[in-house]
Symmetry: C2
Subunit: 419 residues, 2 copies
Amino acid sequence: MMKIYNYKKSHALFKKAAEIIPCGIYGHYSPSPLVPATAYPFYTAKAKGSRIWDVDGNEFIDYMCAYGPMVTGYGNPKIEAAAAKQNKLGNCTTAVPPIMVELAEYMTDLIPCADWAFFAKNGGDVTNYAVMVARAATGRDKILMISGGYHGVSPWMQTAGHHGVMDDDKKNVIAIKWNDIAQFEKTVSENKGKIACFISSPYHHPVFCDNEYPADGYWQSIEKICRREGIVIITDDIRAGFRLDMRGSNEFFGYKSDLICYCKALANGYPISALVGSKDLMNAASKVFYTGSYWFSAVPMAAALANLKEMKRTNAPAFMLKQGEKLLNSMVKIASNYGYDLKVSGAPSMPYLRITNDPSLMLHQEWCAECTKRGAYFTSHHNWFISTAHDDKDIKKTWDIVDDAFKAIKKKFGDEFQL
Amino acid sequence: MMKIYNYKKSHALFKKAAEIIPCGIYGHYSPSPLVPATAYPFYTAKAKGSRIWDVDGNEFIDYMCAYGPMVTGYGNPKIEAAAAKQNKLGNCTTAVPPIMVELAEYMTDLIPCADWAFFAKNGGDVTNYAVMVARAATGRDKILMISGGYHGVSPWMQTAGHHGVMDDDKKNVIAIKWNDIAQFEKTVSENKGKIACFISSPYHHPVFCDNEYPADGYWQSIEKICRREGIVIITDDIRAGFRLDMRGSNEFFGYKSDLICYCKALANGYPISALVGSKDLMNAASKVFYTGSYWFSAVPMAAALANLKEMKRTNAPAFMLKQGEKLLNSMVKIASNYGYDLKVSGAPSMPYLRITNDPSLMLHQEWCAECTKRGAYFTSHHNWFISTAHDDKDIKKTWDIVDDAFKAIKKKFGDEFQL
């Protein structure tokens, strides 16, 4: 019998937090999409490798990886050593650190589309900056994006009608369907000479629904249209970056991007984001005034450089894709043993899963919750993340948990959702 | 004869950087306002206490403090110990750290206007969020701000016509003059029921010109009008926060703020910003979706908590104000010995200086450059910053440098600018 976790301390602390912090825990860390919230830990006490321990002492194989930033293992000794070495010299000072130039050199060598690099903190810093650069370069106002695409929390990026978002914020944003070249063509021709840029993740990874790869020839058609119309292509690689291809996820899907936004996996959790771009746009990038208090800090740059080198050395994306496939193939089989259809979409290194037997997602939520309560941290609404720290031992243990969780929901629901 | 610095390595590295980074160095770290740029170092090799060393081995007493973040000394052992201890446990993980609740508790206890606290990375994250909260709370769109006020780099905060900024971005922003209650009243009555918030620093600290304290009764009048009209008061305390008063700079000037934005001095350079607010606005704050990849990281929170406690224990704002006054009083006297009128404005802990003899600022730039080349890092366009690490030895050495620099410009310009 597997141990079923309880979260007494987590939930007591949350109650206290809710008095003095909006939502108690806000944003993408909010417990609200963790259904039922009683199945999830809210506070991390310790993290190491592929594991986190919550404040109640429960241990988890962490398949969320801090929603992406953790990519080479929590507390990776190589990254930590590089960060500590730099921190002894200095971090946030009055002039910039030499390592900023070294990091820019490394990234422009690594990424074929990158002739230059710009560093910030948030993913949203660089998606915003990318759009401003595209506007400055083209003299156009409109932004083309994919419905359900996520590019940060600036008002223009949020859904119209959300709290704090004005209609004016969305005035220059046109959202179209993913993988729909006909709609793309139509929208471009209806807004001829007005669209500054097309911003999109390299494949579609929304929450609460199946993720979608580009259809054959999709990006190649997009590229052709954008070149013809002078529309800047912005690849938002904040989530997928370095989990598909070290050279940029656009290379994985075979297209050239004018600008690429990086964040999460860049520095294994150290706070840094980056925009890289083509020579053509460097002048426009130089004209836009864009900055932040901590953007020139040396430690996250040292961590990024060490992390990129380590990922390159180990061919981390290939390893994570392989580990993901291994994990998922057997999980699908285990599911079918219990009469459940577990659908996997997106990249195996950051898969989105869904039990199709119940379209309401309730059954899927129940199963993710049962897995989490047994030590495999699975969200039900968001793609998961594999890191290079997820080894075969983790995967084997996960299969055992997955099996036990399917057994539990089968016991609870009987034949109700059987196909 | 004092040693005059040269910056061969800094400038060689910058040349390389300019090939692969927009502007080489961008934003507020850009060398462009450092006039003449040949007098300034561009790259920090090492930082400790009140000092930085550049890549050419030159040592500086640093009066910019990373443009604000450094407040208790580079590499402060207490802050570093707290950060290192937390880093061993974990930093950016899949759930939030317990220290987030502890930090929120500490700040809501410390700051009278704060019933809740929200954490992010950039100063601009929390000014943006504050405006969204005010809009969500009031259902109004318009923002009132002070001409020349700086609240970050989001398009609405930038000057109309700047690259990447659209006219639409500025549509709901009304800029008025500092210390002008009549214009404030007029603007409010012309936009009755339409203004969501008034965002302003607690005193006016623009670049390239004298800083200004609020006139007697200014904030009290603002408060009265805003209460009457249901306008949310947002204090942008990103630059002045914890350099005037631990309880919020609004307390220093005797008014109540609905929201206060913090960043720079919060964690002695560790990347964290905060919005604190009144109970009335907690519901609106909870409704706005706002988040970032690294906002729940534990290390900057641990650093912030240690830094705030240390500043509280030592009454850091009072010390920095006193050290600033000591430094500046004698500097003004030294200037007058050479026939120059050195005007000091703003808070002594973050003073703006200007030699009034030459209204073009050229003479002031020459003097700041001469000081910097002798080891006192002074910018000519931006207010400086004092930290608790600036001791009497630093101040004495600075006076010597200041004297020698005045001697040098007197020698260069003779009686040209004498009053």
